[in-house]
Subunit: 83 residues, 2 copies
C-alpha cells in the first residue's frame, strides 16, 4: 500500500514545518512576528518549523490564519513552493 502512497513516506511534521517556514519567508515575517499574529509562543513556532512537534489542528488553523492561507495547504508537501 505504501508503494502507491508517496505522500506517506515523508514525516508530516517535516512537511508542516517546511511549509510554515516557507510561507513565513514569503511574507517576510520573522518567527516573532508570526508568533504574535498566531498567538502562539515563539519557542513553539520555532520547534514546529524544525519539524519537532506533533502540532494539533487548532494550532495549524491559527498559524494558517496568520499566514493568510487555508489550513490544509500547510499539510501539502512543499506547498509554499507552488504558488
Amino acid at each position: 500500500m505504501v508503494r502507491n502512497m508517496p505522500f506517506c513516506k515523508v514525516d508530516i511534521r517535516k512537511i508542516v514545518g517546511n511549509n510554515i517556514r516557507g510561507f513565513r519567508h514569503k511574507k517576510d515575517y520573522t518567527q516573532e512576528k508570526l508568533s504574535e499574529l498566531a498567538g502562539i509562543h515563539i519557542n513553539y513556532v520555532s520547534s514546529v518549523e524544525r519539524g519537532e512537534r506533533n502540532v494539533g489542528i487548532l494550532n495549524i488553523a491559527k498559524i494558517a490564519k496568520a499566514l493568510k492561507i487555508p489550513p490544509h495547504v500547510l499539510l501539502m508537501p512543499e506547498s509554499y513552493d507552488r504558488e
Copy 2:
C-alpha cells in the same frame, strides 16, 4: 481579515471530524475497522469524528493512510463530498 477568509469560520475540528466520517462511510468501514487500520483506539476515532478532538498531525496522517487519501484532504471543508 476574517471576512475574507470563510475557511476560518468553521471549527477545524468539525471539518476534520466530518471528513473522516464521510470518507469512512464511502469505504464502508465501521469505526472499529478504521481504528484497526489506523492503529488508533476506537474511542479516540469516535471523538475525533464528533469534532471533539484537537487531533495531532501524526494521527491525521495515520487516519488518512487508513482511508487511502493524502493527509491534507482531511482539512478541506467537506472534501469527502467532492470526489
